[in-house]
Symmetry: C2
Subunit: 321 residues, 2 copies
């Protein structure tokens, strides 16, 4: 059995290749550029871990892992367009380096390419995996739409935010583990618990993401700290602050959100601190982690096989970028 770190190394070596044909270069070179920017490759490694939990890793798990990483990158290329993001991991986004039409088409073809990596897996589980992949892909789009809708709404409840995050982020992590498990021959019940483990981890992952955006170290984080605050993004932190703020804090917060003062990030963080947002986020993350581990506990395999998933979860929750 390989550890999470060992599988990361294996996947990175496997993924270090051309992902598209050479021509037309105007379409495929920007695609290769974006995929070379890197990333944590968490999702594909989760697919391998899902397989490894039940049996030796089958080559199909690498194919599916690759498809999932391409799918994830397709969403990033298009999300960057929607968010008008200039940088991704410190590098120019596709629509910035090239243009919007190129980014649009590069995203499209990356999604199609993801399906091309799926098409070659064993026919015995192809329909099942394709079905999960499709459902998840559609849910991720729904999550992105809700994220955009919420940006225009003055009030968003914590429940709505968690629903959106579940679609936008969690279901892909959950499905990634599940399709790996299917390749590994897991039972339906084990698949269910692994999926739920992934979903809970996904929400905890987002809490950490929101936390890092406000409290991270810019050098580690690789992007500007306070970006969410500047954009008035409804995050776990902001929604919690709004719900517990005193009338005076709420008034100050509303004024800061309606204004783009130079010291906005600093001032919002002061209110966050006064509201105990960081501790609250830490507790909420711990709650989701606990629920995740309960599902992991329910999976009927020997405990030692679960260690790489425990390591992964701990890595995700304690990461600083």
């Amino acid at each position: 059995m390989l550890s999470f770190q060992e599988l990361s190394v294996q996947f990175n070596a496997y993924f270090d290749t051309a992902h598209f044909p050479a021509s037309p270069e105007t379409l495929y070179e920007p695609g290769e550029y974006f995929l070379k920017i890197g990333g944590k490759r968490i999702r594909p490694v989760m697919c391998l871990l899902g397989n490894e939990l039940f049996s030796e890793i089958h080559p199909d798990a690498f194919q599916v892992a690759r498809a999932i990483e391409l799918f994830h990158n397709f969403t990033l290329v298009h999300d960057d367009m929607m968010d008008e993001a200039q940088l991704r991991r410190g590098m120019p986004t596709v629509h910035t380096k090239y243009d919007a039409n190129t980014a649009l088409l590069v995203g499209d073809v990356m999604l199609i390419r993801a399906y091309e990596f799926l098409q070659t897996i064993q026919p015995s589980y192809l329909p099942k995996i394709l079905k999960i992949f499709n459902k998840t892909a559609r849910e991720v789009c729904e999550g992105q739409q809700l994220d955009m809708d919420y940006a225009k709404m003055s009030e968003v409840t914590m429940e709505q935010y968690i629903f959106m995050i579940t679609l936008k982020t969690s279901v892909l992590l959950a499905a990634t583990l599940e399709v790996g498990a299917i390749i590994g021959g897991a039972s339906e019940n084990n698949c269910h618990h692994l999926y739920e483990f992934g979903k809970k981890i996904g929400i905890a992952f987002q809490i950490q993401d929101d936390y890092l955006d406000a409290y991270g170290n810019a050098a580690d984080f690789g992007k500007e700290v306070g970006g969410d605050i500047k954009q008035n993004k409804k995050t776990f932190l902001l929604l919690h602050a709004m719900s517990v703020a005193t009338a005076a804090q709420r008034k100050a917060l509303d004024e800061l959100l309606n204004d783009n003062a130079a010291n906005k990030v600093e001032k919002v963080l002061e209110i966050f601190n006064a509201c105990g947002v960081a501790e609250w986020a830490e507790n909420l993350k711990a709650k989701y982690m606990e629920e995740a581990f309960e599902h992991l506990e329910s999976i009927a395999v020997v405990s030692s096989r679960k260690q790489p998933l425990i390591d992964l979860a701990n890595y995700l929750m304690n990461r600083n970028k």
Copy 2:
């Protein structure tokens, strides 16, 4: 056996339904809107015809036909964004009626939805059909990229244009027939000839499209006549006119292309007429039709089964919209 027209009626009845879940409405309502704008639904009917050429139509052919129509509409939603088109079949395009972000995401989810309709077909031919679908989808993106690249190039050869059109338009018609044939149990050789028939028909179809843009009747055509001319689109007609024009005609043409004079369409058409472009296009179309019919001839089924495909080809080539 059903005629092309009868199958059109059947497909339209089948397709007259919701294509997405109800929620989130901000994502799916624009998708339903676009699909309701209509269209000739040529591709899905071709899928049914491909099946019918070899055997009775299997319900899977309707599923695949639907997937192909959704795929085609996904390309239209995104192409309209890239072309900054305001209208599609006389109705506002998605990015015009809603906004660019919505159109981007609606296109994405429509592509994913297409795959959802594929996932339920019989596992015996799912991998084969998925492979053809993926390859074709990617080629269509390549064709769109080349189309955008060519728009920026001062010189495009007829060979390059045909290569681009083959990818952007023909391969989807060809693949649509082929996947229908696979559901109908066709042999590899028969599939090959049907694919080639579709490819040739596709090029003839584009010649007719380019012809109608210049010589169509606005009322029938449903969009502005001369749109390609106004946008300096490199069409079969323009490329031919450029290749046969006298030095004086070429100079006049270049001046018209570099300028957006009020009478540009009229003046370009005068040169087209002087160059005999309409007759040339008619002949080229006839040549591709002939090649298409040779492939149809080579398909080993009784001639009477081929009649609906002959009717389809004749309809496509004589259409006025």
